[in-house]
Symmetry: C2
Subunit: 358 residues, 2 copies
């Protein structure tokens, strides 16, 4: 069984503005450690996979960055998506590329910008998941929820008759759920039958094609054309097909439609999607008053704040639950409960035409 990891690195990461920018989205920032998130994502896989079995999918403008950060990956593994669309077009491109080399290969589609604290547990589950994937299942990792999050999609699963393999349990998926409201999220949490959707998936290339053919015929037609264009190295056609594929998530385009044969494995390996600034308050070390201070800071009577201003002296006085992020040219001051609005600010900057701040 051959595993081919596809690192999805096309995200724009606008929720980490002003640190993340169009040219440097979150996956290219050293947020969690001194290494960038995409480096961490690849390093984590190396005990299991050779660099030749690791692909990236990203925009052309980031290919150079990826080449510098990940010099051991073969140049031909750095797939370029003609535009940032969503996961379905990117993963059709990547899976087709892999299919042409080996239709039996198992594709592990992994976001470039997530935190996984327990790498060895993750790899153990990944191997088990790959084994099941080569038995024609579509596999996903679900995160046991710890609070009624409204910022994640959910996976409704059945506890009955789990598949056991290599000591790991895989449960049948009943439904993929969009981000819920608070009350519904509470019900999901209390029921015990829901996981957060981690956005990590495994499938055998051949099975991916079959499932598309059976359950998503309109998408399957793009798949066939993409295979053909890749086989004949028709770059312009690849681009044009990519642009035609609807900008859907793979969850919606395939996983949800496949219905049967979709399994979820509980991913209790210390996952975070590091989705916004406040998520770093659970990751970075805090002082005794709950403050996370990155940079030279003076804190007086402040609680549960995050200050990221590596290049200047920052004084916090009498403030609570505030996120402060300073870069050379821009400054964010945000209540920690409202950091999801940061991407709206980026939209607003875009509308105002202030490109230098994007």
């Amino acid at each position: 069984m051959q595993i081919q990891a596809v690192i999805m690195a096309g995200g724009v990461g606008s929720r980490f503005w002003p640190l993340s920018r169009q040219k440097i989205p979150k996956q290219f920032l050293p947020i969690i450690s001194e290494k960038t998130m995409i480096e961490e994502t690849v390093l984590r896989l190396l005990p299991l996979l050779s660099p030749h079995n690791i692909y990236t999918v990203a925009n052309l403008e980031h290919t150079q960055t990826i080449r510098k950060l990940l010099p051991k990956l073969p140049a031909e593994n750095l797939l370029v998506e003609p535009q940032g669309k969503n996961t379905a077009p990117s993963l059709i491109l990547a899976t087709a590329k892999i299919y042409l080399q080996n239709p039996e290969a198992v594709v592990a589609a992994l976001p470039a910008d997530h935190l996984l604290k327990d790498s060895s547990l993750f790899l153990k589950k990944l191997e088990a998941a790959a084994s099941l994937a080569s038995q024609k299942f579509l596999i996903t990792f679900g995160i046991p929820p710890t609070y009624p999050a409204t910022g994640y999609g959910y996976i409704h699963f059945s506890k009955a008759n789990p598949h056991q393999i290599q000591g790991e349990s895989f449960y049948t998926v009943k439904e993929f759920k969009e981000k819920p409201g608070y009350e519904q999220a509470k019900q999901f949490l209390e029921s015990g039958n829901y996981y957060w959707n981690s956005g990590m998936f495994l499938w055998q290339a051949r099975v991916f094609a079959q499932k598309l053919e059976n359950h998503a015929p309109s998408i399957f037609s793009y798949w066939k054309r993409m295979l053909d264009a890749l086989k004949n190295e028709k770059d312009r056609e690849i681009k044009s097909i990519f642009e035609e594929i609807p900008a859907l998530s793979i969850d919606y385009a395939l996983m949800e439609k496949a219905r049967e044969g979709v399994l979820v494995c509980p991913g209790n390996f210390g996952w975070s999607d590091v989705g916004a600034w406040s998520s770093l308050m659970d990751i970075w070390p805090k002082d005794k008053n709950g403050n996370v201070i990155k940079g030279d800071g003076i804190v007086y009577n402040a609680r549960n704040c995050l200050s990221y201003s590596p290049h200047k002296l920052t004084a916090l006085i009498g403030v609570e639950d505030i996120i402060v992020v300073d870069t050379g040219d821009a400054l964010l001051v945000c209540h920690r409960d409202q950091d999801q609005k940061v991407k709206d600010i980026v939209d607003s900057i875009k509308k105002k035409g202030k490109k230098e701040y994007l």
Copy 2:
């Protein structure tokens, strides 16, 4: 009657950190208008006084700045205080200097860094005050309080038998009060017999000497020595006497001790001591949510905030009552009710030896 204004420009203005620094205290910043506060203070006097009748007292390191900002003032009017101490030593020096030229001159001691919105009313009251000062009274301006401020000293006055001159009323001062606690401040406000102490004073040079002799004999001895040293231009001795004078305020060293013959004029000319960042929220224009934004700002769901960051894009999201001040090298994020603590931060920076931020 000759009026000689003495602009007290020795303040360090640490409550406006990080904008104000040791090298650029508040009086040398264009906080209220496009002109610096000391320029505003002098400009306001020009309808009444010639530049030759305006003195400044400041530290040596600021003399060059004053000369640049106020080129019309004669160089010999820029008095140098050997060290920043308090108002009594500075005003003994300045009054002695003026006394040697004309003991009948009326000295108007004025802070360099206060806001007076109604200049013409101020000048009208200043002229009336000077007339009374030449009748041997010590005069001060008191600000009718509008809320139970705990950040100001108070002047307890008697409403009985005010002195009327040039249409202005002057009341007998009963007592100078230090900054009160909140409950006492409320009583002061409710009684109607208290004004805020504005720190502006007038006296005839000869009367100043007499009052010191009669009511503050220990200070009077310094006065006599200072007069002598100035007369003989003994610079080293001037410096050494200055250093010996206790670091008292003139309120405490003279006004409070003189007791009788001290009058207060209500200063309803739109005064603010511009004592800290939050005071600017009453001076600078606000948006409909009460936010004051200086610089390029994006505001989302923020209320009653002040953002001063002229050189960068600043986004405020979901925050209330927050003061944000960004300079090139330092950043302040402070609750508006706690801006009096900014000077403690400056002390803390001093203790840590981070001179570059002072």
